[in-house]
Symmetry: C2
Subunit: 202 residues, 2 copies
């Protein structure tokens, strides 16, 4: 971002690399670890070794394991959880929510987020990092897609799209964090239909 | 429940009392403590003293502080979070959700639940207690009210009311647990209107 050269090589003898590139490497390493093995195996030691960056630098960029995890996770899922725009908001929401549910249920990602949200209830620094490095960005991306649907007249302009974020993704988090009921495909479909069509008799 | 006489008095010299009555006393004591002071001050010691019941009996009925807290909390808020039935589902949902938001935001109840949900992400026993002693009962009560709205033709019968639970109360929990956005009255009103009316142009 700032264009300064990083002080470290990558352990493969190529010498100095731009900080942005080093940073991206670290985030990729952290994100890969999270999505394949979960958060227990994510240590500064391990990320330093795998990315060829000193622990000092890691701590300078990410003051805590939670911060590193959240930044790494955001970058790891960014592409998978992209918001498609085919012009059909119902189809696009279904596509995105299905991808989201898949990451939550079938990769260690769901556990990672649940544990970070859990810990952030009693750890103010982690709560701030969670919002700053993860949830506020995800909210913004979702809102951008929903605003485009408003511009096309598919969602009324008097609707506060941030409320829809809670009624779609927030509803999935609710089942993830308090698993009284399962996250099924029928659930995902119902989330979208209930909001677009309303639940009163037609 | 079982009609056996409890082995303890209430510390005020009235001798043996029915177990149900003793149990109700303990739950009231625990619930009052939670709603006025939060969970940090809830100890078996303190509840035993305040209710005149031995710690041994408390541990027999509630194997952990979490279990006692959840059972106490459920009973403490049961009346406040009752689901009114005036025959108008929109008005009744608004009334109930406003009462729910009030407890969550303006009493220590919200923090209590957030911390219990948080801890239950890494404590399986607490997660089970949470569902068994609190959330499953709340879900059932909400579903009963929504089913009556279906019987009156106010909500379509093909709607799975459990999904509505996630899109109404779950959405509030989402803002409580990840406070990117505040729980305002406009938010509560939007939750209900979005689902009853749908968000597409009319």
């Amino acid at each position: 971002m700032n264009g300064h050269a990083a002080k470290e090589g990558n352990g493969r003898g190529r010498g100095r690399r731009p900080a942005d590139e080093v940073r991206a490497d670290v985030l990729r390493t952290a994100g890969d670890l999270l999505l394949t093995e979960g958060i227990a195996d994510l240590t500064f030691e391990r990320v330093a070794k795998a990315s060829g960056v000193s622990k000092t630098t890691l701590y300078k960029w990410w003051p805590s394991k939670g911060a590193l995890a959240l930044d790494g996770y955001f970058h790891a899922v960014r592409e998978t959880l992209d918001f498609p725009d085919t012009g059909d908001v119902r189809a696009d929401l279904l596509t995105q929510l299905r991808a989201f549910a898949h990451v939550m249920i079938h990769t260690p990602g769901g556990r990672v987020l649940a544990e970070l949200i859990g810990e952030s209830q009693t750890d103010q620094d982690l709560a701030t990092a969670y919002r700053k490095l993860y949830s506020s960005h995800r909210r913004r991306l979702a809102a951008e897609r929903l605003h485009r649907a408003q511009e096309l007249g598919q969602i009324r302009t008097d609707i506060d799209v941030q409320v829809l974020v809670d009624q779609l993704w927030g509803a999935v988090y609710h089942r993830l964090l308090i698993p009284d009921e399962p996250v099924t495909d029928a659930f995902i479909v119902a989330l979208v239909n209930n909001l677009l069509d309303g639940v009163r008799p037609k």
